[in-house]
């Protein structure tokens, strides 16, 4: 693979489409207000046109100047129109691969692909916004093959145990099968049934999402058309008849539920979790298709999260913590999450299927009684500050002049209930090379990681913890930046075990 390549020419169309999408409402403003001759509109229109012309020129130039190249070890990205830049990203730094096919991509039968590295900053990922499907597959294969070659070379050099080599050879034949255009040998672990999705749409409360969505569309429209003023008369007449209101309320409710169900079906309807020997694949979405691929050895930790609703329905969400997770706009799709509404027993089963090197220990230890009292009586800054503010302002709410201390008491009760729940939910276990923490009050999170994936540990003891024989332990894992997990008020003995357990890390790692 020599010679730098241009990106697909459909990139130009894609950028134009984005430009139109982003400036649509602004354009509408200038077109609709054609009659007015105010200076703002006049100069605004000129500025807007100028902006458009420059943007289009930039988009075209961008296509001519931006190029990419792959060699045996890295991506080379050439970019910049005036200031040229040449970025090299080694394949070995790629943490996971993300594919997204939106409606736009569907129309042109293309896709987009992101290779995410664990680095911070804007350049953290190698992204192809528009790429033909064949080329995307080719890149993915090339990357996989190169990484494997590199691994093999180093293995031979270091004369690592035979079994690993055997395993790699096995993988190699699997790869050859794949490059011969045969369907990859993947095992499918989960596909939601219609019932799963229906259950999901009710537990996620996604039907309430219609409200903010409507409001945001309304406010955008209102900016232009001033609906509010024009509709005032109409609204008044509607408000006068109660049956119209009830009717509207029922209609809204039905719309909300329908919206929620449809939205969940769109998002989670076509969902598939599969894996082969060294990677996990998640594909989802009916219209906007996304595919996510992570190498098994890149999984830094696992988190199993259950909200109250999910606990009632016996569902759980499994998250794979990896160093390449982006927190950009598009990643509200939570690409690191396996299906968020997995039946709980299936979730645990799947972890051992997907990641055979992980073990979930079911038996975990609860905190000692003394931790209960420590947690209960630890001063709550939220409550102190809130109460101080309430006592100072003494707001009158719904005509109740005593509201301030009522709110303070309610808040205190809530905090106490949460703390009691948190105490009973908290569990820990350290087992060979695994550590497990369960935390949380209303939403519980079970955190599982391996010793070699933890990059740092901390043991803290405040003066009262020392006095009561307690300690706080903390682990740090790689994630996008880092992921801290803290467990408060564990017995001293556990803290010592934990510290020593981590000192034994040398047994799990192989140094180059």
């Amino acid at each position: 693979m020599t010679g730098a390549k241009r990106y697909s020419p459909i990139n130009i169309l894609y950028d134009l489409w984005k430009l139109i999408k982003n400036t649509f409402f602004l354009a509408l403003l200038f077109i609709i207000k054609q009659g007015t001759n105010s200076a703002f509109i006049k100069y605004g229109r000129i500025a807007f046109l100028l902006f458009w012309v420059i943007s289009i020129v930039y988009i075209i130039l961008k296509w001519f100047t931006h190029k990419y190249k792959l060699d045996d070890t890295s991506f080379h990205i050439y970019s910049g129109i005036f200031n040229k830049s040449n970025r090299t990203v080694p394949f070995s730094k790629v943490q996971n691969i993300n594919r997204r096919t939106s409606v736009f991509h569907r129309i042109f039968r293309v896709t987009s692909i992101r290779f995410e590295t664990g680095m911070r900053g804007d350049d953290a990922a190698v992204e192809f916004e528009v790429i033909s499907r064949g080329e995307a597959d080719r890149l993915e294969q090339h990357l996989k093959a190169s990484v494997r070659d590199a691994r093999e070379v180093s293995e031979v050099r270091d004369e690592v145990r035979d079994e690993i080599r055997a395993e790699a050879e096995l993988g190699e034949t699997a790869y050859e099968e794949m490059s011969g255009n045969a369907p990859p040998a993947r095992r499918i672990h989960f596909r939601p049934t219609r019932r799963d999705t229906l259950k999901a749409s009710f537990t996620s409360f996604s039907f309430f999402l219609l409200i903010p969505l409507t409001l945001s569309i309304y406010s955008k429209i209102n900016d232009i058309f001033h609906v509010e003023n024009e509709a005032k008369g109409a609204l008044n007449s509607i408000a006068n008849s109660w049956w119209v209101i009830t009717g509207i309320a029922i209609l809204l409710l039905i719309a909300c539920i329908a919206f929620g169900v449809i939205r969940t079906f769109m998002k989670y309807g076509k969902y598939e979790i599969s894996s082969d020997d060294d990677s996990i694949y998640i594909t989802k979405g009916v219209i906007d298709e996304t595919a996510f691929k992570i190498a098994k050895n890149r999984v830094q930790a696992i988190e199993i999260t259950q909200s109250i609703m999910k606990r009632i329905f016996g569902l759980a969400e499994v998250k794979l913590i990896s160093a390449g997770n982006t927190d950009s706009e598009r990643d509200k799709l939570e690409m690191n999450s396996l299906y968020p509404f997995l039946p709980a027993p299936r979730a645990y089963e799947m972890i051992s299927e997907l990641l055979p090197t992980y073990e979930v220990t079911q038996e975990m230890t609860a905190l000692p009684k003394v931790s209960f009292w420590v947690r209960l009586f630890r001063p709550s800054w939220t409550w102190i500050i809130a109460t101080a503010a309430l006592a100072y302002f003494k707001p009158v709410i719904w005509g109740i002049s005593q509201a301030w201390w009522l709110i303070s008491v309610i808040l205190l009760l809530l905090i106490v209930v949460c703390r009691i729940l948190a105490y009973f939910n908290t569990r820990y276990s350290i087992n060979q090379q695994f550590v497990q923490f369960r935390l949380g009050s209303l939403t519980t999170t079970l955190f599982i990681s391996k010793r070699d994936k933890i990059i740092e540990v901390k043991v803290k003891r405040s003066f009262y913890q020392k006095w009561l024989g307690l300690a706080t332990v903390e682990t740090v894992n790689r994630a996008k930046s880092v992921h801290h997990t803290e467990m408060k008020d564990v017995p001293n003995g556990l803290a010592v075990t934990f510290y020593q357990w981590y000192l034994g890390r040398r047994e799990d790692i192989i140094v180059e």
């Binding site: 180093s154 901390k458 740090v476 880092v482 010592v496 020593q500 890390r505 192989i510 140094v511 180059e512």
Partner: protein
């Protein structure tokens, strides 16, 4: 618990106490000067009454804080700071009232540097700061030769990288 964990043995330079006292004295003096100027303005321009009260309260707090940070804290800090370096881990322990133990694998250290500010320079001391992927740790106030030796040692150990498996 310290004995059970196998507490690190390395200690800071004894001059660290002097450095901290010196530093804290100067910063307290600056703080008090600012408060003094404010009090003077308050008096001569007849600011509102409550502003005067706030300044007085702040002054009392900062005097108490100064006493703590000049006469007590440096000794406690010195007494409780421990560090240790071996081929596998950097161990840090600090804090008298709230105690913190940290364990950083050498293979995860990305950079190490020695620093010297004006206060440390006066006593010929250096501080060492170690950066990992997500955090940064520092060992304050070590004698020059110890600091440089330690820096080189950490740099040597940190060169070894583990296989990401």
């Amino acid at each position: 618990m310290d004995s059970e964990i196998g507490m690190p043995q390395g200690r800071l330079s004894k001059d660290a106490v002097k450095v901290w006292i010196f530093k804290e004295t100067i910063s307290s003096l600056i703080m008090l000067m600012i408060l003094g100027v404010l009090l003077y303005f308050d008096y001569s321009y007849a600011w509102r009454e409550w502003i005067g009260w706030i300044i007085i309260v702040l002054t009392i707090i900062s005097v108490l804080f100064s006493i703590w940070s000049i006469f007590i804290e440096p000794f406690l800090l010195y007494k409780n700071w421990r560090y240790d370096v071996n081929a596998e881990f950097l161990q840090l322990k600090s804090g008298a009232i709230n105690e913190v133990h940290q364990l950083v694998p050498m293979t995860k250290i990305q950079s190490v540097e020695t620093n010297q500010g004006p206060f440390l320079r006066k006593y010929g001391l250096y501080s060492i700061s170690v950066k990992t992927m997500g955090s940064s740790h520092s060992i304050p106030a070590l004698p020059k030769d110890v600091a440089i030796k330690l820096r080189n040692q950490i740099a040597h150990y940190a060169k070894i990288k583990e296989v990401e498996q």
